[in-house]
């Protein structure tokens, strides 16, 4: 029986009300941490849990926390609530329906790295959710769970909300920091990394909402309990956002290591109209189009296994294509997405995504030629490995895999 760590709102009605959350052991872990745990021990505990970042990179969370130097102060924690990857809608559910567990996680992370100020960066479209959060933070402050000298200790913590303004690039951690500082949301040069030079130039931890929501479980129920789910190298559960040509799209919290087959056919109840599945995109628009072979379907969804199919697990926004989907039409969408969202700082992404958008439009309009497919592949290759940040690099993944695996779809759209 798989455990639910995160979408506990589905088990406990009204969990997004403060008193309901309190009635369900809410913030007991927080009080325990501030009054009796040592920050260094907490960092080690998270390392031992094997928790990996749930925003897409899968970087070991405890290791990231340990990079903060204890010689430079203050430290900051920033929650990345800029969920903008197409096909990803897991954080939204947490923020709307299990917000206090997320907040408790953010607070635990702050205590663990001794930050006295934490920020939640919401994508601009979440303005209503952010407004609600301001109310929730006020509730916590009134209840003595946030503010000065918590529980009679030396430790104080304030949480602030901040809204973005409609830019996918602000989910990239250094662009997020720039935006949070009031500047243009463009990524910074790395090194230095945010752990050493982050918000306002200070050591900063940036974690995804889902990642933080795991922390009350780890500290409240213990590492063995957390590790009871998932695999050795990818422990814990993951919320899989299933969408596309399936009967039941939605968020599904399952142990890491669950197969694609189980997600798509058991939970997603199979393909619409009984059609034949064609491809899987496990990481939203930044995915490769993985041909849905039997072997692929039986691949476990974890950070080690999925890359063997030629794509990272990413944020686990699993998009399903069937035989009615033309891959080149899909690529048209992803290319336009990246061209629209490119920040414009570096040449390959700014010019390359624009160029690709012109080519895919030509193909989609029926005026394309066979050479345009080769040109598209070539331009994608030209962008690769030259960009300042991951957005440019990911903009080509769907293009290259679609041409490689589903070239016939492109051929169908061009003049023969």
């Amino acid at each position: 029986m798989s455990e639910i760590f995160l979408l506990r709102n589905r088990l406990i009605p009204g969990l997004n009300q403060f008193k309901v959350y309190l009635e369900n052991d809410g913030f007991a872990t927080w009080k325990k941490a501030v009054t009796s745990l040592k920050p260094e021990d907490m960092v080690n505990e998270v390392k031992a849990s094997g928790l990996r970042g749930r925003g897409g990179a899968g970087f070991p969370t405890g290791l990231k926390w340990s990079f903060l130097p204890n010689t430079i102060w203050p430290h900051y924690v920033v929650a990345n609530a800029d969920e903008s990857e197409p096909g990803t809608f897991k954080d939204r559910e947490l923020l709307e329906f299990n917000p206090y567990q997320f907040l408790e996680g953010l607070m635990l992370a702050s205590y663990a790295v001794r930050a006295q100020a934490a920020y939640i960066y919401f994508r601009g479209e979440f303005w209503q959710i952010a407004q609600k959060f301001d109310e929730r933070i006020a509730e916590l402050t009134a209840a003595g769970l946030l503010g000065d000298h918590l529980f009679g200790t030396d430790y104080s913590l304030r949480v602030y909300t901040h809204l973005g303004a409609g830019a996918y690039i602000c989910g990239e951690e250094t662009a997020l920091l720039e935006s949070l500082e009031g500047k243009m949301g463009q990524p910074r040069l790395r090194p230095p990394f945010p752990a050493v030079y982050g918000l306002f130039g200070m050591p900063t931890v940036i974690n995804n909402v889902e990642t933080l929501t795991n922390l009350p479980i780890i500290f409240g129920k213990g590492v063995p309990y957390f590790r009871s789910q998932g695999t050795e190298k990818s422990p814990g559960t993951k919320i899989f956002s299933l969408s596309g040509r399936v009967n039941k799209p939605g968020n599904y919290e399952l142990p890491l290591g669950t197969t694609f087959r189980e997600l798509i056919y058991t939970h997603g109840e199979g393909i619409l109209n009984g059609a034949k599945i064609k491809a899987i995109m496990p990481a939203g628009a930044s995915s490769a189009l993985i041909p849905a072979t039997e072997a692929a379907l039986d691949t476990p969804m974890d950070y080690e296994s999925v890359p063997t199919l030629g794509c990272a697990l990413g944020s686990a926004s699993v998009m399903i294509l069937d035989e009615t989907t033309n891959a080149s039409d899909l690529v048209n969408d992803t290319v336009h997405f990246f061209a629209h969202e490119s920040c414009g700082k570096c040449t390959p992404c700014r010019e390359g995504t624009f160029w690709m958008s012109r080519i895919v439009d030509r193909i989609a309009s029926g005026k394309g030629k066979k050479e345009d497919i080769d040109l598209l592949e070539s331009v994608a290759g030209q962008i690769q490995n030259k960009c300042l940040c991951a957005l440019g690099e990911f903009s080509i993944v769907a293009v290259q895999s679609a041409i490689k695996n589903f070239r016939a779809d492109f051929d169908a759209r061009v003049e023969s």
Partner: protein
């Protein structure tokens, strides 16, 4: 001592200080890695990606920390999976960089192809053609043809005024960010920025007037394409059609090294004309920058108002005559005056003009007077900067004191150099009665009341206090004093006191220690070095003399008392470029040549002697100032016949004194300027010119000037209740002849001539834009009003050279004449 690092680039070894970027280490070897967004004077951005190179580092064993070795014992080099930007990657020990492999060349070709997909095919009409790194790099590294469909190019606005001085072509812009970063990091005027994102990203301006920065022209130099152009030069000429004529800017005492670009034109009737002014690199003076005043105010030379014929007053009117007649008439007057002749010159003249005038004045036992706004040049001559001094070297242990000067208005490149010194760690002390643009960089700011300079000086020289210790304990101390609220008497007192600080600290004569005066003109310091002196009682001197001989000065425009004295003078001989207020009172007016029309030397405020050559031929009928003086002297029976600048210079440097033994050859010496910038087409630093024409040299101190004994304080001007203290201040864009002749700058000249604190204005019921009457003791004047919350109350700041003619602090009543809303 910086730690050194050795690495290999393209198989060749180089050792550079730690922290050097790969792209600069490569330059040391003469290997060129192309750049667009990188500029050695800006922080690296890593945006354009054209500098991608293959970087390998010695592999280290994770467990032991020891280097992993190959079979042959050499360190194993691990190359990254991706190319790295050479401009953002600092060197490390044992690094191996490949900049010329096929992989790197392919990457460069790819990036260039991508840049050209949006870039328009404007080369045939683009100003930058011929001095454009995009052209050059495309020829060297780019593809021959583009695979982008021409019809699908994004079309953007091609003539976007970022203000009236700088125009942007959005299609040409390659979004390198140099302009934005220059404005933010160096000019401290973040008035332009990026707007929108992705392919729609564009440069926009946030200020009114647009691109409100006195350094805006520099962005057109460092722009790697023809996106930013000046409205002055745009579509003016092709780069290869122009010739280069090196010169010095004489608009302020910095003495920026410039290059005039000239071309012979049909529309100018076959005349050689100046098309634009560009900076010339001199890291010890102006680096690679010039301010907009220097860039755009050359138009006065071609003004139709230029005097081209001598004039003599007959029956009350000035009529045109020939040179012989005018010279002979002037000579007769001079002979008749004997020793009762006052010779008045300004810092607009070259050393040769001044030397000739001084020699002339000596011969007739007359008085050689410098007409200028502030005094104290003898102290600068004695305690000024010495050879080996360079503002660009000041840093952590040094102190810079700026007294009574708004450098941003008075000497923009010194503002920039002092600010960057402060950013390098120098302790900046700003002593001023009001807030200026330097305050935010200062360690200490000291405010004093206009007229009470003595109190501020006391604090600097006292035995205790942070400012006094910062001054005493500095490794090197450079002191600037300017013209903020000071007249001749006050500034002489200030200069003496500040010179005393340097003397008592034992600093006189040490490099990077000294007194610098922020003069109004380019060669005031030269005048002092050559023996000219200011005269606090000039009005009496003029009245007492039989006649006045004025060269390049316009006292009647600057001081009403002097205007009256000149009206009553026995006779007045004037040599100038225009029919100034002073010339209108003259008996003889002789047309002179502008600085770009003749050769000469000048001494800047840092006491650097610099040589300039003519750029364009002078208008027919004009003569150089020294030629005029020589001719008059000759006609008056004085033997003074040197005509060539070279021979005058030889005479000048034969005499004992600070100029002794200097040759023009020495002034023409150059040495490698670092960082190398100008026009190296592959590593592009901007269109500023390399300096092949001379860096000049700093004069030794004048030990003939006796050291300070006693200082006399200047009595504070009494102000009756209800009235204000009016003080003169300097502004960069005033109504002087050179600025007003450049029509393009008219929006930048403020209409307000006097500024008041809002509190004082409120009491008078006055608002910005009102016409007010300034009622002084002996005169009244109507002018425009501005409000300034950053100035103290009780004071009316009167801008010089705007017609208000205030030379020294004076009491004034201000009354509203016409409200702005009613006009």
């Amino acid at each position: 001592m910086d730690k050194l690092v050795t690495l290999k680039i393209d198989g060749r070894s180089v050792t550079v200080p730690a922290g050097t970027m790969i792209v600069d280490a490569a330059k040391e070897l003469g290997i060129v890695i192309p750049v667009f967004c990188y500029h050695p004077k800006l922080k690296p951005a890593g945006m354009c990606r054209v500098c991608l190179v293959d970087v390998g580092r010695p592999q280290m064993d994770r467990a032991t920390g020891a280097p992993v070795l190959n079979e042959d014992g050499t360190p194993k080099i691990a190359f990254g999976p991706k190319l790295e930007t050479a401009c953002t990657t600092p060197v490390s020990e044992g690094m191996v960089v490949w900049g010329a492999t096929e992989k790197v060349m392919e990457a460069r070709k790819d990036v260039l192809e991508m840049l050209l997909t949006s870039h328009p095919l404007d080369c045939p009409v683009c100003d930058k053609g011929g001095e454009c790194p995009l052209q050059n790099l495309t020829m060297k590294f780019g593809p021959g043809e583009s695979r982008f469909k021409f019809d699908e190019k994004k079309h953007l606005a091609k003539r976007v005024p970022l203000g009236e001085l700088i125009l942007l072509d959005r299609e040409r812009c390659i979004q390198c960010g140099r302009c934005v970063r220059f404005q933010e990091q160096l000019a401290d005027d973040p008035v332009i920025g990026f707007y929108n994102r992705g392919r729609s990203i564009q440069i926009t301006t946030f200020s009114t007037p647009g691109f409100d920065s006195i350094f805006s022209g520099n962005t057109t130099d460092i722009c790697p394409v023809g996106a930013l152009t000046t409205s002055d030069f745009r579509f003016g000429a092709r780069a290869w059609e122009m010739k280069e004529k090196p010169s010095i800017c004489t608009q302020c005492p910095v003495g920026c090294n410039i290059m005039y670009n000239i071309r012979r034109e049909a529309k100018s009737s076959g005349r050689m004309v100046i098309k634009r002014v560009m900076p010339r690199q001199n890291e010890e003076v102006n680096e690679i920058w010039i301010c907009d005043k220097g860039r755009f105010t050359y138009h006065y030379a071609e003004s139709p108002e230029r005097l081209t014929s001598p004039l003599i007053r007959r029956d009350g009117e000035l009529v045109q005559v020939g040179w012989e007649e005018a010279v002979s008439y002037a000579a007769d007057k001079v002979k008749a005056a004997g020793s009762s002749l006052a010779v008045i010159a300004s810092g607009r003249l070259s050393n040769e003009d001044l030397f000739t005038l001084k020699t002339f004045s000596n011969r007739i036992n007359g008085k050689a007077i410098l007409h200028t706004t502030i005094s104290g040049g003898d102290w600068v001559s004695r305690c000024g900067l010495t050879p080996g001094s360079n503002l660009g070297e000041l840093g952590g242990n040094d102190t810079i004191l700026v007294f009574a000067s708004d450098l941003h208005e008075e000497a923009p490149l010194w503002w920039l150099r002092v600010k960057t010194a402060a950013e390098r760690g120098a302790c900046l002390i700003v002593v001023n009665p009001r807030k200026t643009r330097l305050d935010k960089y200062a360690c200490h700011t000291l405010r004093y009341v206009y007229g009470e300079e003595g109190k501020a000086l006391q604090e600097i020289t006292s035995s205790s206090g942070e400012i006094a210790s910062a001054v005493k304990e500095a490794e090197n101390l450079v002191i600037f004093y300017g013209s903020e609220g000071l007249g001749l008497a006050q500034s002489a007192y200030v200069a003496e006191s500040l010179a005393g600080v340097l003397q008592s600290g034992g600093r006189v004569g040490k490099p990077n220690n000294g007194l610098v005066a922020v003069w109004q003109k380019g060669n005031d310091q030269g005048a002092w070095e050559l023996g000219f002196r200011t005269d606090e009682k000039l009005q009496e001197t003029i009245s007492a003399a039989m006649g006045v001989y004025i060269a390049g000065a316009d006292p009647a425009s600057e001081d009403p008392q002097l205007k009256i004295a000149l009206q009553r003078a026995g006779f007045v001989i004037v040599q100038d470029l225009f029919l100034t207020e002073t010339a209108k009172l003259a008996d003889v007016v002789l047309p002179a040549r502008a600085v770009m029309e003749r050769e000469g030397t000048a001494v800047n405020g840092e006491r650097r002697l610099q040589h300039y050559l003519p750029a364009i031929p002078a208008p027919v009928g004009t003569r150089a100032d020294h030629e005029i003086t020589s001719a008059i002297a000759q006609a008056a029976g004085l033997d003074l016949l040197e005509i060539s600048v070279e021979s005058i210079f030889e005479r000048m440097t034969a005499e004992p004194g600070v100029f002794e033994g200097i040759t023009l050859m020495q002034l023409g010496e150059v040495k490698e300027q670092r960082p190398s910038i100008g026009r190296n087409w592959k590593y592009y630093g901007g269109t500023s010119y390399d300096n092949h024409h001379g860096l000049g040299l700093v004069l030794p101190l004048n030990t003939e000037v006796p050291l300070l004994t006693a200082k006399k304080a200047v009595p504070v001007t009494e102000v009756i209740a209800g009235r204000l203290l009016a003080v003169p201040v300097t502004r960069l864009y005033d109504r002087g002849g050179t600025v007003t002749a450049s029509d393009m700058l008219k929006e930048r000249i403020s209409s307000g001539v006097v500024s008041l604190h809002p509190e004082d204005a409120g009491k008078l019921g006055a608002n910005t834009g009102d016409r007010v009457v300034l009622k002084f003791a002996e005169r009244e004047l109507e002018c425009g009003l501005e409000l300034n919350p950053d100035q103290p109350s009780g004071v009316a700041l009167v801008v010089r050279s705007m017609g208000a003619m205030l030379a020294a602090p004076a009491e004034v009543a201000v009354v509203v004449k016409t409200a702005a809303k009613d006009s």
